[in-house]
């Protein structure tokens, strides 16, 4: 099996894909206790599209996101950001890739508590020693309703505000792709709805690429496309989803 994959992985998956995996396999543990978190997953995330990854607990959806975002490494197979194969990068190169080309929104603890909202937003730029586009950052902050909160520290902000700061940070450097891991998981429905609206807006208005892991059908229905995972494999996909259709599909996992 390995040689054929190698032949295929010489080339980037497709020009239009912002990120992709080929034969992605992730095994935790060894021998009899080995768990296949990802089992030969081949998937592409198109540019300027909002893709959601869904699946039951333990389906490997978070693992897929982490591996394609350069936070974790695959056991075998390849993961790509644009035409860069992540497996070829060392820790520093991977870090620089995350800094320059990827944006992140996590479920919680997105922000550095000692930095103000503004400093958190510009953190990836500051780490790169860059100033960034001031007008753009101002625009992002205003759009996200953070203009008045820029000098505040995370401890002085609500959970929704903190998540919006995280979204602003992800957008600030105009990355090729933003990965969001349950971005609304810790928020009430109103705050969660706001965050999703901003993500949607970023795709529609700015042509941003977003990949989001969620278990909430309502959140997933904001996406252009949903990839369903179960037992570490891609089992289905859905275009132009609605909350009802997603719910129906999810129910079938219980069967």
């Amino acid at each position: 099996m390995e040689p054929t994959i190698d032949q295929v992985t010489d080339q980037p998956p497709s020009v239009a894909a912002a990120a992709a995996t080929r034969g992605a396999t992730k095994i935790y543990g060894e021998g009899t206790t080995a768990v296949h978190a990802l089992d030969d997953v081949t998937v592409a995330f198109e540019s300027a599209r909002f893709t959601a990854i869904m699946g039951p607990s333990g389906s490997g959806k978070s693992t897929l996101l982490h591996c394609v975002a350069g936070l974790d490494t695959l056991t075998s197979g390849t993961a790509w950001i644009g035409d860069t194969e992540l497996g070829t990068l060392d820790d520093t190169a991977l870090t620089l890739l995350r800094r320059e080309r990827v944006g992140f929104v996590f479920q919680a603890f997105n922000l550095v508590p000692t930095l103000t909202a503004e400093e958190n937003i510009t953190l990836p730029l500051a780490l790169a020693g860059r100033k960034g586009d001031k007008d753009w950052i101002g625009e992002v902050a205003t759009t996200l309703g953070l203009a008045q909160r820029l000098r505040h520290r995370p401890s002085e902000m609500s959970g929704g505000e903190q998540q919006r700061v995280a979204v602003a940070r992800a957008l600030a450097s105009r990355p090729e792709i933003i990965f969001a891991d349950e971005p609304t998981g810790n928020l009430d429905s109103r705050a969660g709805g706001e965050v999703l609206r901003f993500l949607r807006q970023a795709v529609d208005d700015l042509g941003q690429t977003i990949v989001m892991v969620t278990h909430d059908p309502g959140a997933a229905s904001q996406a252009d496309r949903i990839v369903f995972l179960a037992d570490g494999r891609v089992v289905d996909e859905m275009l132009q989803p609605t909350a009802e259709r997603v719910l129906d599909r999810m129910k079938r996992f219980g069967d």
């Binding site: 936070l71 800094r99 996590f106 508590p113 000692t114 953190l123 780490l127």
Partner: protein, 848 residues
């Protein structure tokens, strides 16, 4: 709860190790010091026992007065004619006169063997041909005639002498050419206590190292069946006034006690550093426990929620501390034994040779070091354990923000200021006032000052970190900014960590300032008072010295205008033991002591000069009479003939040469001041003096600069030793910084994960942690520096009357101290930074 405490310990082995290490080093230091002194004591106890093995009684002069330097009692010599009388006493089997004095062998290169000024003494004595002599010849024969000597094996080996070899021996008068007739050992030692022995015939010993017709003592062996007490009882009635007889057991004990007393100073000196090390260790325990208690808030709340009482939670923390204290102290005790050898080598490296063989650890010493470690550890954990006990059960349900403490309350600031003021007051009172036990008061003051500053540390930590870190964001970008913010985010923790370093740096800067002031003061004194060109010395403080023959010959040189020596002696003046100097008229001429009443010419055989300082204290003026008790001539009425200002170099009492020669049997110059004749080039004059010096081994000729250096060499020597001893306290403080950083990193796992996820490289992360460490270290160094400046100023000002006329602040050295502290901060951060940078990004981000 015991189980919880033990589980906690085992769950955090690394922390246990670093925390325990801080205590362990302190205990090891203390144990090492005690082992060293116990060993020295044992060595000498055995030595004295061996030396007096066959002596049942000793006849000697009654004590005149105590040695002002704390080395037992001083007594005069006795008439040799007493020997015959004592021998005739019924029950006396053998009696032999003993002669003791200074003699020092010279090795083949012309360098004197041993350094009696800063190490074991070099004795000249007589070889007794009877069983009273406990030496055993290993080679050769006893000395015969004036020019034969027996060396102890140690000296013979050092000098490379064998039987029949020629050797030069420094004694009073001109150096002596002798033949080695034999080599001897005593009680299994080559060179007892590291001392050097040159043994002459009794007549030669009297002539060269003692006094003709005198003995220092008479050793007596009793006939079989006559006890020590009996023989003493029989001899006592036959003795004239002023002469006493004691048992051999008493003499052994006296010698052992005198040594114990001498050692106690050394012991205290070393223990001060051990206590400092332990104190710093205590700070680290305190800090570590505070952090871990905060990190375990939830856990403790859970325990409370399920029914643990406040006391039980508190006890669990204390038990954990007790366990650390017990383990670390036990390990420290064991580590102390090799450390004793290390300390001995360290002292030797700085020129303090300590004779000691084997390893002795007295039970009392072991208990002391062990319990000190345990007590410090448990005491340091008391406050954190109370905090743990106060955690409300409901905290288990809350998401507790870890380690966010602020400035400290107003009460805290008031308490801190009070402690600080009290400490400063105690320090100043101890130095300037006249309390009974000045040293204890000063010590308490020093402790309180450190404690007060560390209490206030929390309040100053935030602004101080802000200021120290000011340039960082500019220089190091976001990593620098994060470093600064992190140092500022928990002022309490930063302050407590910095405090540990503050103590070491405070003492280092204090001693640096004190040493610089001592040197500057001496240099000023020499510049003002010394009008000569050269100084000849034997390089030995107050022991042995330069033969007066040298001075005479230099005086006769045409290139030289004047040469005058000074001698050193001890006496009791109006009942107080004092050091005094005997100065020749030429010495007064070249070294201006600044007479304020009378002149050096007024000093005759029955007069004495006193420093203005002492004259004021004692209410003395020219014409007043004082009683001076000399060991060899007894009490003498003397008139104060001169009062002088300069006591920094000259001391408080001076005799004219006539008076000195009249009252002291030994006549050796410790220093000879030389002034060249006008018009003679310096080099020429120096060459002429050096040519004379060539005939006197051990004598070196120095110019003014070299003289200052030589006289102040001991300051650098002490400084180096103190630095080395304080280094341990500083190493412990660095462990503390590393420990705090490591604990902080555990707390910040998630935030570090975010940083790494959004693009912070490993090296950026390491840099942030490194600079945080530097901020903490520099903070500790700066606080220490301020305290050191205060201590230095206080002590120098207090000692102004003793001749410390200059308060010198060695800026370069102090800057170096701060820079070194910053570098040390970098070193302390190496391991925590590496650990942080290896953090698994993913796990850190998703950690619950």
């Amino acid at each position: 709860m015991l189980l919880t405490a033990i589980r906690n310990l085992l769950a955090h082995k690394l922390r246990l190790l670093t925390t325990g290490l801080a205590v362990m080093i302190g205990v090891a230091f203390m144990a090492g010091t005690l082992v060293l002194t116990d060993t020295i004591q044992k060595t000498f106890d055995d030595l004295f026992t061996d030396a007096f093995e066959n002596t049942d009684a000793l006849v000697r002069a009654e004590a005149s007065f105590d040695d002002p330097n704390g080395f037992g009692e001083l007594r005069g010599r006795i008439d040799a004619s007493l020997l015959d009388e004592v021998e005739d006493v019924d029950g006396v089997a053998l009696a032999a006169g003993d002669v003791w004095g200074f003699a020092q062998a010279v090795d083949r290169d012309g360098d004197p063997i041993g350094n009696p000024g800063a190490g074991s003494p070099t004795f000249g004595t007589n070889w007794t041909a009877s069983e009273l002599n406990t030496w055993t010849l290993v080679e050769g024969d006893p000395p015969r005639g004036d020019e034969q000597v027996v060396f102890d094996k140690g000296t013979a080996d050092d000098g490379g002498f064998g039987v029949g070899d020629q050797a030069t021996v420094l004694v009073q008068g001109a150096p002596l050419e002798v033949t080695v007739s034999g080599i001897a050992r005593i009680g299994g030692a080559d060179s007892p206590g590291g001392a050097s022995f040159t043994m002459f015939t009794t007549e030669a010993a009297q002539r060269y190292v003692g006094e003709v017709g005198k003995f220092d003592s008479i050793s007596i062996a009793a006939e079989d069946g006559v006890s020590q007490d009996e023989v003493v009882e029989r001899i006592a009635p036959t003795l004239p006034d002023g002469i006493e007889v004691v048992t051999g057991a008493t003499v052994t004990e006296e010698n052992q006690d005198a040594l114990r007393e001498g050692l106690s100073f050394f012991n205290t000196f070393m223990l001060v550093f051990a206590v400092v090390a332990l104190l710093v260790g205590g700070f680290i325990i305190f800090n570590t426990f505070f952090i871990t208690v905060a990190q375990r808030t939830r856990e403790n709340a859970l325990l409370r929620a399920i029914g643990a009482t406040r006391r039980q939670v508190l006890a669990a923390v204390l038990i954990e501390a007790l366990a650390i204290g017990l383990i670390a102290s036990a390990l420290g005790l064991v580590a102390g034994i090799p450390l004793a050898a290390g300390l001995k080598a360290l002292l030797a490296g700085f020129g303090f040779e300590i004779p000691a063989g084997g390893i002795v650890l007295a039970t009392g010493s072991a208990v002391l070091a062990f319990s000190a470690g345990v007590i410090v550890t448990v005491l340091a954990a008391v406050s954190p354990s109370r905090k743990a006990g106060k955690v409300p059960p409901v905290a288990a349900m809350r998401d507790v923000a870890v380690g966010s403490t602020g400035y400290g309350s107003r009460q805290r600031i008031i308490v801190g200021v009070l402690i600080l003021v009290l400490g400063a007051a105690a320090l100043l009172y101890g130095l300037f006032g006249d309390p009974g036990s000045a040293l204890a008061v000063v010590g308490l003051g020093v402790l309180l000052v450190f404690f007060g500053v560390s209490v206030l540390g929390r309040t100053v930590a935030l602004p101080l970190s802000r200021v120290i870190g000011l340039p960082l964001p500019r220089v190091r970008g976001i990593a620098g900014q994060l470093a600064r913010e992190n140092a500022m985010r928990n002022p309490k923790r930063t302050a407590a960590t910095a405090s540990a370093l503050m103590i070491g740096v405070g003492l280092v800067s204090f001693i640096t300032i004190f040493a610089a002031s001592t040197k500057a003061s001496f240099s000023n004194t020499v510049d003002e008072a010394f009008t000569g060109d050269f100084i000849a010395t034997s390089g030995q403080m107050g022991v042995g010295g330069v033969s007066p023959e040298f001075t005479e010959r230099v005086n006769d040189l045409p290139e030289i205008e004047a040469a005058g020596g000074i001698r050193a002696g001890l006496a009791a003046i109006d009942g107080d033991s004092e050091s005094l100097i005997g100065a020749s008229p030429e010495a007064f001429e070249i070294f201006d002591v600044g007479p304020v009443a009378g002149t050096p010419d007024d000093l005759d055989e029955t007069s004495i000069a006193v420093s203005e300082q002492t004259a004021d204290d004692e209410g003395l003026a020219v014409g007043d009479r004082v009683t001076v008790d000399f060991t060899s001539t007894g009490e003498q009425d003397m008139t104060v003939a001169m009062v002088y200002a300069e006591n920094a170099a000259a001391g408080n009492w001076i005799l004219g040469l006539d008076a000195f020669e009249a009252n002291y049997p030994d006549q050796m110059d410790v220093q000879v001041f030389v002034r060249k004749a006008e018009g003679v080039p310096s080099a020429e004059a120096l060459a002429a003096v050096e040519e004379v010096a060539d005939d006197f081994p051990g004598v070196s000729v120095l110019d003014q600069t070299e003289y200052k250096e030589e006289q102040m060499a001991f300051v650098d020597q002490m400084l180096g030793l103190v630095y080395a001893l304080l280094a341990l306290a500083i190493i412990i403080a660095l462990l503390g910084i590393g420990n705090t950083l490591a604990l902080s990193i555990v707390e910040r796992t998630r935030e570090l994960g975010v940083l790494r996820a959004v693009g912070m490289t490993r090296s950026q992360l390491r840099s942030a942690i490194r600079w945080e460490s530097v901020i903490i270290a520099v903070q500790g160094a700066l606080l220490g520096l301020i305290i050191g400046l205060f201590f230095g100023w206080a002590l120098v000002t207090a000692l102004e009357d003793e001749g410390l006329n200059t308060f010198a602040v060695p800026f370069t050295s102090l800057v170096v101290v701060v820079v070194l502290a910053a570098l040390a901060g970098v070193v302390a951060a190496v391991l925590p930074a590496r650990r942080a940078s290896r953090l698994d990004v993913l796990r850190a981000v998703v950690t619950e």
